[in-house]
C-alpha cells in the first residue's frame, strides 16, 4: 500500500501566526488553502502535489540529489554537463525531439545544477499532461548518449562558462573564492566545471554519472497547479513507478577541516572597477542556526535601511552595492558577502567597513525595531516565493530535499519568529570571526596591457 498523507497549508493562517507573535492583529479578506498530497512510489521516488486552479497551468519540478559535490577532480562540471545531456535524446524521443514535442504542445522547460542538486523544470498547460510524463519517464529510464551531441553540447557548455565566468568579473572572483575557502570538500570546484575538465569528459564519465545519480529513489517530484493529486499519482503509476530502483550515489564523506586563519587571494584582471568578495564557513541548511543567520543577513544586507547599505553606500559612499548570498546545501557551506567598490576606492576600505559592522552586530544586540523589521521582510519574501506555481514548486521541493521534510515550510514563520537578539549575537560571534573568512579581491589592470 502506498501512503497518502495530507497537510493543509494556509497562507492566511501562516500570516496570522506570524503577526500574532509580533503582537499585531490582522484581518484577512479571504483564506485560501493549499493542501499538499504526498506519495512514495514503489521505486522510492517521493511525489508531492499541490492543487491550484488560479491559472490552467502546471509546474513540474524533479529534484535529483546529485550535484557537483558528487564529482571528482578531472571530471568537475559533469553534473551540469549531464543536465544538458538529459535534453539530448533518449529511446522514444531522440536528439532534439524532447524540446520540439514539448514546445509544440505548449510547454517549456529548463534545468539547473547546484553543488548539491540537479533540478529539472517543466512548465506547461494541463492539456500537455500525459505527454510530459511520457517524456520524463523516457529520459529517466532510457537516456542515450549520441557522440555528436556530446561534441556540440561540450561547446555549448564552454560558451556558458565563458558567459557566466570567464567574461564576467564577479564570476571569476566567486570561483576563486570557493576554490580557496574549501581545501578538502568538493564544494571547492565550480558547478560549471574547470575549462580543461569541460574539454575532456568522456562517454564513460557520462554513463557512470547516470548510473550513480539518476535512480528514482534519488529523486523527488513536485507538481503544483491545475491538477488533482489523484491524476498525478495515476500518471506516476503508469509512467514512473515501473522504472527500477538502484543504489543512490555514495555518501560524500569528506569533511572540510576547520579553517584556522584568514585566507586571502587576489585576481588581477582588466576592469574599470575593483570587486570584493568575502566567504565565511557556515553550517549546512538543515542546521538550527539557519533561521538566525537569515534574520542576521536581513538586518545587515537587505534593503536601503540595512546596516551595510547605510554604512558603505549611503554614509561612507565607498561602494555601489553590498550584498550577501547563500544557496541551500547538504554539507557545511559558505555565506558570501560581495561589495562593488566605487571607482578609485581600495577594496580594503570596504573590507574595513564591513568588519566594523560585523563586529558591531557581534558585540551589541540589535534593536527591537530591527529585529521586527527583519521578521516582517522574511514574511513578505515568503509570500513572494509562494505566489506563483513555479515559486511554490521550487520552495516545496527545496524544503523537502534540504530540510528533509516539506512540512518544515509550515514551520518557517514560527522559526523566524522564535529568533532572539541573543541568537543573533551568538551566530555573529560564531561565524563572522577573522579566522573563519576568506577574502577575494579583484584589482583592475589596464585592458591594453592584458591584450598584449
Amino acid at each position: 500500500m502506498r501512503k497518502v498523507s495530507w497537510n493543509v497549508f494556509t497562507l492566511a493562517t501562516l500570516c496570522a501566526a506570524m503577526c500574532l507573535c509580533d503582537g499585531a492583529t490582522v484581518a484577512l479578506a479571504q483564506q485560501q488553502e493549499f493542501p499538499v498530497a504526498t506519495r512514495t512510489l514503489k521505486n522510492g521516488m517521493k511525489v508531492l502535489v499541490q492543487t491550484d486552479h488560479n491559472i490552467p497551468n502546471i509546474a513540474l519540478y524533479i529534484f535529483y540529489r546529485i550535484g557537483s559535490r558528487n564529482e571528482r577532480p578531472g571530471t568537475t562540471g559533469i553534473s551540469h554537463f549531464f543536465e544538458h545531456m538529459m535534453f539530448n535524446g533518449a529511446k522514444k524521443y531522440g536528439p532534439g525531439e524532447l524540446d520540439k514535442v514539448m514546445e509544440a504542445n505548449g510547454g517549456s522547460n529548463n534545468a539547473y545544477t547546484t553543488r548539491d542538486v540537479t533540478v529539472y523544470q517543466d512548465w506547461f498547460p494541463r492539456s500537455a499532461l500525459p505527454l510530459i510524463y511520457d517524456i520524463e519517464a523516457d529520459r529517466i529510464r532510457d537516456l542515450s548518449f549520441d557522440p555528436d551531441k556530446i561534441k556540440s553540447e561540450r561547446e555549448v557548455v564552454a560558451s556558458e562558462r565563458r558567459l557566466s565566468v570567464d567574461n564576467e568579473n564577479a564570476g571569476v572572483l566567486d570561483e576563486q573564492l570557493w576554490a580557496t575557502s574549501f581545501i578538502a570538500h568538493p564544494y571547492q570546484w565550480p558547478v560549471v566545471g574547470w575549462m580543461s575538465d569541460i574539454e575532456h569528459w568522456t562517454m564513460a564519465d557520462l554513463k557512470h554519472h547516470f548510473e550513480m545519480g539518476y535512480a528514482p529513489n534519488n529523486a523527488t517530484m513536485v507538481v503544483v497547479g491545475d491538477v488533482s493529486p489523484e491524476e498525478i499519482f495515476k500518471l506516476c503509476e503508469t509512467y514512473i513507478e515501473p522504472i527500477p530502483t538502484h543504489e543512490p550515489p555514495p555518501p560524500v564523506t569528506t569533511v572540510e577541516p576547520e579553517q584556522m586563519g584568514e585566507r586571502r587571494l587576489v585576481v588581477h584582471k582588466p576592469a574599470q572597477l575593483p570587486l570584493l568578495m568575502l566567504g565565511y564557513h557556515i553550517p549546512q541548511t538543515n542546521n538550527a542556526d539557519f533561521y538566525a543567520l537569515n534574520v542576521l543577513r536581513t538586518i545587515l544586507f537587505q534593503g536601503e535601511s540595512s546596516r551595510m547599505y547605510q554604512r558603505l553606500v549611503d554614509k561612507d559612499q565607498i561602494a555601489l552595492d553590498v550584498s550577501s548570498a547563500d544557496e541551500p546545501a547538504f554539507d557545511p557551506t559558505m555565506l558570501e558577502v560581495a561589495a562593488q567598490p566605487k571607482q578609485g576606492i581600495d577594496p580594503q576600505q570596504c573590507e574595513k567597513a564591513i568588519y566594523e559592522e560585523l563586529d558591531r552586530v557581534a558585540n551589541a544586540p540589535v534593536s527591537d525595531k530591527e529585529l521586527e523589521k527583519a521578521k516582517n521582510i522574511r514574511l513578505v519574501e515568503f509570500y513572494r516565493q509562494m505566489r506563483t506555481i513555479n515559486g511554490r514548486a521550487n520552495t516545496i521541493g527545496t524544503y523537502e530535499v534540504f530540510f528533509g521534510d516539506y512540512n518544515k515550510l509550515f514551520d518557517a514563520a514560527r522559526n523566524y519568529s522564535a529568533v532572539t537578539k541573543e541568537d543573533l549575537l551568538r551566530v555573529a560571534k560564531g561565524y563572522f570571526g577573522a579566522n573563519n573568512r576568506t577574502v577575494a579581491t579583484l584589482r583592475p589592470e589596464e585592458a591594453q596591457k592584458a591584450a598584449q
Binding site: 488560479n54 509544440a104 504542445n105 529548463n110 498547460p125 570567464d166 509570500y383
Partner: protein
C-alpha cells in the same frame, strides 16, 4: 547573486521585454480536460478618473495578501533634454531619497519595516513606479506611496551622491559585456533619435545633470493628468477608492506638454560598430534594424513569427547556433515594442574563433526566413507554445497591475488578452510571409559587436561598408562624444 548554480538555457523573453506588452491570448486544447474548455480572460477591473485628471485603475485579486501598485508617469528617456541622457532615470531614482517629512534614511527604514518593495525606473516611453506591500499595511503603504510621488524634495547631497554612483554603475556594467550590448545597439541603430539614448545616461551626460534639472523635469512631467495609477491585489475597492481620493485628490492639476516622438526611420545599408574589449574571449553580437510600435496591427502575427524565428528554445536561430553547431549557449531574437517603432535584434555570443561562422549562420537563418517563410507545422507549434506559456504572465497581482497600467498608457484594451487566442489562430503562412517581408529586416542591417578587436576585427569587416570602432572603457555609448575625456 546565484553564481553557485548553472542553468541549462538562457531565459527567453527575459528582462529586455519585461516592459513591453504581452500580445498573446490563450485557449486550452480540450482533449485531456473535457470539463475545462475555458479561455483565459483578464480579471475584471475598473477605471476612475479623479477631478484633477489622475487615472486610477483597480483590480481585485484574492489569494495572497499583497497589494501591488504600478504607476506610469508619461515621461521616459524620450523626455530627457539633449545632452542630459539619464535625467528621467535619475529623477525616478531620487523619488525615495528625501521627502518633506522623511530623510532618505527615514524613508528606507519605513519602507523596509513593512517589507515593502519600491522600484522606480525610466524606460524609453515612460517612468514606472512600482510598490508592493502586505494588505495589512495598506495605510502605511499608501502613505509611503503618496510621499514618493507628491512630496519629494530632491536633496542636494542625495542628488550628488546618486549621480556619482550612477556613473560608476555604468563603468561597472561595461566590465560585463553582455549587460551593455543593448545600449550600444540602440545608440548605433537610432543615432540621434531619442530611442538611441541610454535610459541610464552615460558617464558624460550624468556629469552635466544638476539638482535644478531634476526639479524641472519633475515639475514638467509629474502631474495628475500625466499619471496612471494601477492597483491590484487583495483589497476592498470602495475603501481603496476613498483612500486614493484622500491621498491624491488634492494633487493640483497641471498642464503637461506631451512629448512628441519623432518618426523612426529604419537604418539603410549595412553598418557595423565594433566595441573593443581587449580581454574578451567571447564576442557578443546584436544584428537587426528598427521594429514596430506597441499598437502595430501586425503585432500578434509578428509575435507568432518571431517565436518560430528566435523566440524560444527550438527557434530556428537557437537550433542553428546552439543545438546543431554548438557555437553558443544561446541565440535569440526580439522585438521591443514601444510608442514608436522600437528595436528588433538578433542576439547571441560565441568564442572569438567562431565569430564569423556564427554570424554567417545567423544571417543564413534570417535569409531562409525570407526565402522559405514558415510552414503550417511551425505555425501550429508556435501557436500552441504562445498560448500554453501565456497564463503565468497574468498569474500575480504584480503582473496584472503592470499590464493594466501599460495597456492604459498605449491605448490598448483587455482584448490584448481576451481576444488574442483568435488573433494568434488567425495567422496563416500567407500572413506570416507578409509580416516577414514587412517587419523582418533583410538587406538593411545594423551590426553591433562587443569583443576583442585585435582578434575579430579584420574578419568582421566583410559584413558592412560603414565601420566604426570604440574602446569599451571610452565614456558614453553611441554616438561617440565629440570631445572624448580620457
Amino acid at each position: 547573486m546565484t553564481r553557485s548554480r548553472a542553468n541549462r538555457s538562457l531565459a527567453f523573453s527575459g528582462a529586455r521585454t519585461a516592459l513591453a506588452l504581452i500580445f498573446v491570448a490563450t485557449i486550452f486544447a480540450a482533449s485531456f480536460a473535457p470539463l475545462r474548455a475555458e479561455t483565459l480572460r483578464m480579471p475584471p477591473h475598473e477605471k476612475v478618473v479623479l477631478k484633477n485628471g489622475l487615472t486610477v485603475l483597480l483590480l481585485q485579486k484574492h489569494g495572497v495578501p499583497l497589494i501591488n501598485i504600478s504607476t506610469i508617469v508619461k515621461a521616459g528617456a524620450v523626455a530627457d533634454p539633449a545632452g542630459q541622457d539619464g535625467l528621467a532615470t535619475i529623477t525616478a531614482d531620487l523619488l525615495r531619497k528625501g521627502t518633506k517629512t522623511r530623510t532618505a534614511q527615514q524613508f528606507a527604514a519605513a519602507l523596509d519595516f513593512i517589507g515593502g518593495s519600491l522600484e522606480a525606473e525610466a524606460s524609453s516611453d515612460y517612468t514606472v513606479v512600482n510598490l508592493e506591500f502586505l494588505t495589512k499595511d495598506l495605510a502605511r503603504g499608501l502613505e509611503l506611496f503618496s510621499d514618493v510621488l507628491l512630496h519629494q524634495t530632491f536633496p542636494e547631497d542625495e542628488t550628488t551622491k546618486l549621480l556619482a554612483q550612477s556613473a560608476d554603475s555604468i563603468r561597472a556594467a561595461k566590465d560585463d559585456p553582455q549587460s551593455v550590448a543593448i545600449p550600444y545597439y540602440c545608440g548605433y541603430l537610432y543615432g540621434t533619435h531619442p530611442y538611441g539614448r541610454p535610459g541610464s545616461g552615460d558617464e558624460i551626460s550624468l556629469a552635466t545633470i544638476r539638482r535644478d534639472d531634476v526639479v524641472k523635469f519633475y515639475e514638467a512631467n509629474y502631474a495628475p493628468s500625466n499619471t496612471i495609477i494601477a492597483i491590484a491585489g487583495e483589497f476592498n475597492a470602495d475603501e481603496m477608492k476613498s483612500k486614493l481620493e484622500q491621498a491624491f485628490g488634492a494633487w493640483p492639476a497641471r498642464t503637461v506638454k506631451a512629448e512628441a516622438i519623432p518618426p523612426v526611420t529604419p537604418s539603410k545599408g549595412k553598418r557595423l560598430l565594433l566595441v573593443d574589449k581587449p580581454d574578451a574571449s567571447q564576442v557578443y553580437f546584436a544584428i537587426g534594424n528598427t521594429g514596430v510600435s506597441a499598437t502595430d496591427p501586425d503585432r500578434v502575427a509578428i509575435r507568432v513569427v518571431n517565436t518560430i524565428f528566435g523566440g524560444r528554445f527550438t527557434s530556428e536561430l537557437n537550433e542553428a547556433l546552439r543545438v546543431e553547431s554548438g557555437y553558443t549557449y544561446g541565440a535569440e531574437s526580439f522585438f521591443d515594442d514601444r510608442k514608436a517603432a522600437g528595436p528588433f535584434a538578433i542576439f547571441s555570443f560565441t568564442k572569438n574563433e567562431t565569430t564569423t561562422p556564427a554570424i554567417d549562420l545567423a544571417l543564413q537563418v534570417l535569409a531562409k526566413l525570407h526565402k522559405d517563410g514558415v510552414t503550417e507545422e511551425q505555425l501550429k507549434s508556435a501557436k500552441s507554445y504562445i498560448k500554453g506559456q501565456f497564463p503565468p504572465n497574468i498569474e500575480t497581482s504584480r503582473q496584472l497591475a503592470r499590464i493594466i497600467a501599460s495597456h492604459e498608457f498605449y491605448g490598448l484594451s483587455d482584448d490584448e488578452v481576451n481576444q488574442l487566442e483568435a488573433r494568434v489562430d488567425a495567422v496563416t503562412p500567407d500572413v506570416a510571409r507578409q509580416v516577414i517581408q514587412k517587419h523582418f529586416p533583410a538587406d538593411n542591417l545594423v551590426f553591433v559587436l562587443i569583443g576583442k578587436a585585435s582578434a575579430v576585427g579584420p574578419a568582421v569587416r566583410k559584413y558592412a561598408t560603414t565601420q566604426d570602432t570604440r574602446l569599451i572603457s571610452d565614456p558614453g555609448f553611441w554616438p561617440a562624444p565629440v570631445a572624448s575625456k580620457k
